[in-house]
């Protein structure tokens, strides 16, 4: 496919960690209905580490591939490390994204951060 790197297409066709975590410790949703991408990340936390991350995404090829890559980058990391994963990291690990897709289709890192903040908020209430 001309527009996307092989790595993007590979993640698009075989996305990792798809689904929901029913008893998730944190959930983050980001999206832009005008742009057409909406994604939800679910995280499971143990000993300050992300032991499981799953996603559901409505969107284009880049949106699905970046979601998949973000889960791969995040699993096993501490919360502090995961908060440092940037959109640029996700794009770089996918062999780059077309410039037009860098902004609105590359929201998965933000969704992950939202999920972590959700977890931290719930912890603070406990």
């Amino acid at each position: 496919m001309g527009m996307y790197s092989e790595k993007v297409m590979e993640h698009f066709m075989h996305p990792r960690n798809v689904g929901e975590i029913p008893d998730a410790d944190g959930v983050g949703t980001v999206g832009n209905p005008v742009c057409g991408d909406l994604m939800t990340m679910y995280i499971k936390v143990k000993d300050n580490k992300l032991v499981d991350v799953k996603f559901k995404t409505f969107g284009c090829g880049a949106a699905i591939a970046t979601s998949s890559m973000t889960t791969e980058l995040a699993i096993g990391k501490t919360l502090e490390e995961a908060m440092k994963i940037t959109r640029a990291d996700v794009a770089e690990n996918l062999g780059g994204l077309p410039p037009i897709k860098m902004h609105c289709s590359n929201l998965a890192a933000d969704a992950l951060h939202e999920a972590i903040k959700d977890y931290q908020k719930k912890q603070a209430k406990k």
Binding site: T29, V34, C35, D37, M39, K56, F58, G59, C60, G61
Partner: protein, 391 residues
């Protein structure tokens, strides 16, 4: 793997018969039609024949009423800007619709910046222009009405005859963008009271980079390109003879074969539409069920996005288009889909199938075989999909 190209609205192959007649004009008959010698004469003769063929396709009275351009976009520019500038003394008001091709939309926006007023008449849920609102929009200052013959995206064919009458009764110039329709449905510029009509070569199996504008005798427009005065001074520049010869042949073939091919495509279209709506839950037809181009099926799938659908279908050898923002250069969903009342997320999940000569019943059945699984796979990924429809 089977390959099924159903994106003829975006690009068409040349008809082999078109290719054959073009060939000599590259290496042998390369004269300039403006020259006085024999090479010039043979180019001029080819130009005249092509002009006649295009005039015949749209039932123009005189072949001189057709001039050649570089394509549909240029024809639309010349028609709309040319008429607006030339008739500014009469008024600065233009009427068009909310579902025009992006070229017409952007020409009108440009004219608004230059001080023209533009009314965008709405359409109904099936994409048919609201005739009452169109009539109400006409004022003493209206110099031009521009409405497409048919919409290349949702397939809806407009009631051109009635709009032509309205324009004629009110003595307003009537431009029709017939790029998506010419060669597919019969057009009669005389009976339909059309003053200006844009057509494109590639949309009827001719080469890319060629188009034409029909200009009814007596319709006043200003040229946009100054130069040597070719095409009656309305489109200067040495004529693209190989391209024009190809367009002429394409127009001749389209006229001859339109009836039979239209019937065949209509059957394929309805087989595709009915099959998909039957096999896939939460799928819908965009556009009018019967007043639509014979080769167009625009289908919408809830909860998923068009570019993902395109990528998956391409993996299976099927090429189509989408109205999704994610496939556009501007990241805006199709204005046409929004104009027929779809929400953004609905517009994102729309696919455009435009069939052509090489498509067969087997192709339609192959699409029906592949599409349900692709839709199911993407719905399983989507946070919008209700759990009860995922089995």
């Amino acid at each position: 793997m089977r390959n099924v190209y159903m994106d003829h609205g975006a690009g068409m192959p040349l008809d082999l018969r078109v290719f054959e007649v073009m060939k000599p004009y590259f290496m042998e008959k390369y004269g300039n039609p403006s020259s006085s010698h024999s090479f010039g004469n043979s180019a001029k003769a080819a130009l005249d024949t092509s002009r006649e063929n295009v005039a015949n396709l749209v039932a123009a009275e005189k072949s001189q009423e057709v001039i050649f351009t570089s394509g549909g976009t240029e024809s639309n520019n010349l028609a709309i800007k040319g008429a607006a500038y030339r008739n500014k003394a009469k008024g600065n008001h233009i009427i068009t619709t909310a579902v025009e091709h992006i070229s017409v939309m952007n020409i009108c926006k440009h004219l608004q910046k230059e001080g023209f007023e533009v009314s965008y008449v709405p359409v109904d849920k099936q994409g048919i222009v609201d005739l009452k609102k169109l009539e109400e929009a006409i004022t003493g200052k209206t110099s031009l009405i521009s409405v497409m013959y048919a919409n290349g995206e949702i397939g809806t064919v407009q009631p051109i005859n009635e709009i032509g009458k309205l324009a004629r009764d009110n003595q307003v110039i009537f431009h029709v963008d017939a790029v998506a329709a010419a060669g597919k449905v019969p057009i009669n510029v005389e009976e339909e009271n059309i003053d200006l009509l844009s057509v494109s070569s590639n949309d009827m199996y001719g080469p890319k980079g060629v188009g034409a504008l029909y200009i009814k005798t007596g319709t006043k427009i200003l040229p946009l390109i100054q130069g040597g005065g070719q095409e009656r001074g309305l489109r200067s520049g040495t004529e693209n003879i190989p391209g024009i010869v190809g367009m002429g042949k394409a127009a001749e073939l389209a006229k001859k074969e339109m009836d039979a091919e239209g019937k065949r495509l209509t059957q394929l279209r309805d087989r595709l539409i009915n099959g998909v709506l039957d096999k896939i839950d939460y799928s819908f037809l965009n556009g009018h069920p019967t007043q639509r181009l014979p080769n167009n099926a625009n289908l919408r799938f809830s909860y998923i996005e068009g570019e993902s659908l395109i990528l998956w279908l391409d993996m299976h050898g099927i090429q189509v288009s989408s109205g999704s923002a994610c496939t556009s250069k501007t990241l805006e969903p199709s204005h046409t889909l929004l104009a027929i009342g779809l929400a953004h997320e609905e517009a994102h999940g729309s696919l455009v199938f435009t069939m052509g000569k090489q498509n067969s019943e087997e192709d339609v059945d192959y699409v029906q075989e592949v599409l349900p699984d692709v839709v199911k796979r993407l719905r399983a990924l989507s946070p919008l999909t209700p759990k009860e429809i995922l089995r």
